[in-house]
Symmetry: C2
Subunit: 203 residues, 2 copies
């Protein structure tokens, strides 16, 4: 085993090399553009990370629009905080509940259409720097809305507008069109241990 002094020295050397490599890498990254971002996968954190981005953007004075396609997602916690910044964020829970709660396909489609019209309006308006279509993937998954229409609006977004789409089972066409795709994978979930949905965690 080497002594601490040696180890610290090698550490500094190694870190200098990593720093230089990162600097060179980052120097090639000069572009700015509005991103199409997808949070998908069966794990938690898809909507939460999107709402976290909303807070981040709001902190920079950027205007955020959020449309929730599934009311059952219950963003009651976030809502209370968003309500304190009416000039920075427009939060529209437009879903009617999980589709297994409504049991009415025609109505679900109509609701999805109305919510989507709102997203389209926000995307088209350059005043919004970030537009979040929360759980839109669920709507696409059930064919309540054609994915082509979503791609068309996303591709026509103003150059600096970021669009975030969340929900499991993102369609491949959306993933192909996106700039940034993260899959949340469930490694371990407390429901398995009999723990119910809790404030601050699930809603």
């Amino acid at each position: 085993m080497t002594d601490d002094f040696d180890r610290d020295d090698r550490h500094a050397d190694k870190m200098r090399r990593i720093q230089a490599a990162r600097r060179d890498m980052m120097a090639t990254k000069t572009g700015e553009k509005g991103l199409l971002i997808v949070h998908t996968g069966p794990g938690k954190g898809k909507s939460t990370a999107a709402f976290g981005m909303a807070v981040r953007a709001m902190g920079h004075g950027m205007k955020v629009g959020i449309v929730q396609f599934v009311k059952g997602a219950m963003a009651t916690g976030e809502r209370a905080i968003f309500d304190a910044f009416p000039d920075l964020v427009e939060f529209r829970p437009m879903g009617e509940g999980f589709t297994w709660d409504t049991q009415d396909r025609a109505r679900d489609i109509a609701v999805a259409r109305t919510a989507w019209d709102e997203v389209k309006r926000m995307i088209a308006d350059p005043a919004y720097a970030l537009v979040i279509a929360d759980e839109l993937n669920i709507v696409l998954r059930y064919d309540y809305l054609p994915v082509d229409e979503v791609l068309e609006a996303a591709n026509a977004r103003p150059p600096m507008t970021h669009v975030v789409v969340t929900g499991r089972n993102a369609p491949q066409a959306l993933i192909d069109a996106a700039d940034l795709v993260t899959e949340m994978t469930q490694v371990k979930h407390p429901f398995r241990g009999g723990i119910k949905a809790q404030a601050g965690i699930e809603f």
Copy 2:
């Protein structure tokens, strides 16, 4: 192809069955407890989802403590929003920068220790409903802090305190001890397309 009426009917049936199954499943979930939560993996959204949970909890009037172990994570956006709720959130960026920027192992260890003492204080104080140790996994990965010490504090947390640890390469011992573990997987990243870190997205 069946007509729309038939399809709607079958849909309602199927959704009724799903709803009943979910109701039965959720009825078995009655427990409440403070969770040990880990966000890990190479993808984006680990810290963002943790900060989203902070906002969620704050919205329920729950007090949140956040300690950032790596200053380079640059939560400038969130910070501006958190600052508006001084009674609900204590946000402490305590890292000195990425370890490849400091290049000083002894100092990194001392900084990690000071930050960890702050996390321990928050966990031990039942006034905090949610404590986030942001990028703690990086510190553990570099052996700047023994994982056993983290497990000891986490396991001794008050019964209703949630603890969230973020950062890639979570140690297996932490995953084993956690109630909820999500791995963020990178499917596609815009740095590859020459896009730099942007406000509202990366910071």
